[in-house]
Amino acid sequence: MTELLLAVILVVAVLAMRAGDLLTSVILVGVMSLVSCLLFLHLAAPDVALTEAAVGTGVGSVVLIWIVFKTQRRVDRGSDR
């Protein structure tokens, strides 16, 4: 179960890095935070899981969404890649 949750976190993190739409990236980071909250709950640390759910999924996502709306939504695929 722990390995499964870790694998899901890894997959979602890679998807968040590769998404072209930054809003999608922010939502995927929120999903990653939610899965890691489940991981902490499975590892018998409900206090850490509550903190992760409140800070990572709640406040962090809100701040990141606000930043995306105030800057730009698309990723510039520059020539340096």
Binding site: G58, W66, K70
Partner: protein
């Protein structure tokens, strides 16, 4: 940001329950999962939800930024004072200085009743942790919501 009716209705219905859950986390933090920081962040995210759905003006009408600043600073000072009172009374920084529980524990210890002494000390410690959770909850809720309100207003 464009606002929809769904966000408006959900935020108005949901944020009171977020405040209630945050207060539950703060007040039962000493016996169950939760605590001052988690409950404070949940209360702050309720305020942030109001600010995103109704605009920062509506959120600041309920929670003025000047009052949040005062709460944040007073919470810090009161928390430090709660720690230093323990130093003055000789139980160490952030030690449990609730006098009634301590005196009951001392009296029971002189009689030799260790079970009563332990129970009285544990009950006193629970009350002290509840007080600390309350202070931290107020401070964190004011601080985090103030950060986000300032960020949203100035951009």
């Amino acid at each position: 940001m464009r606002k929809t009716d769904i966000l408006d209705v959900v935020a108005r219905k949901l944020s009171p329950y977020m405040f209630l859950f945050g207060l539950y986390l703060v007040s039962f933090g000493d016996t169950s999962p939760g605590g001052g920081f988690q409950g404070g962040v949940v209360i702050a995210s309720g305020i942030i939800l109001l600010a995103m759905a109704r605009g920062t003006g509506a959120a600041e009408a309920l929670f003025p930024a000047s009052r949040l600043t005062v709460l944040e600073v007073v919470g810090y000072v009161v928390f430090l004072a709660a720690g230093i009172v323990g130093v003055i009374l000789g139980v160490g920084f952030l030690g449990d200085w609730f006098a009634r529980g301590a005196s009951v524990a001392a009296r029971a210890a002189t009689v030799g009743d260790t079970a009563t002494a332990t129970a009285a000390a544990a009950a006193s410690a629970h009350r002290f942790v509840f007080l600390l959770n309350l202070i931290i909850g107020v401070k964190v809720a004011a601080g985090v919501s103030l950060i986000c309100l300032t960020l949203f207003r100035e951009t």
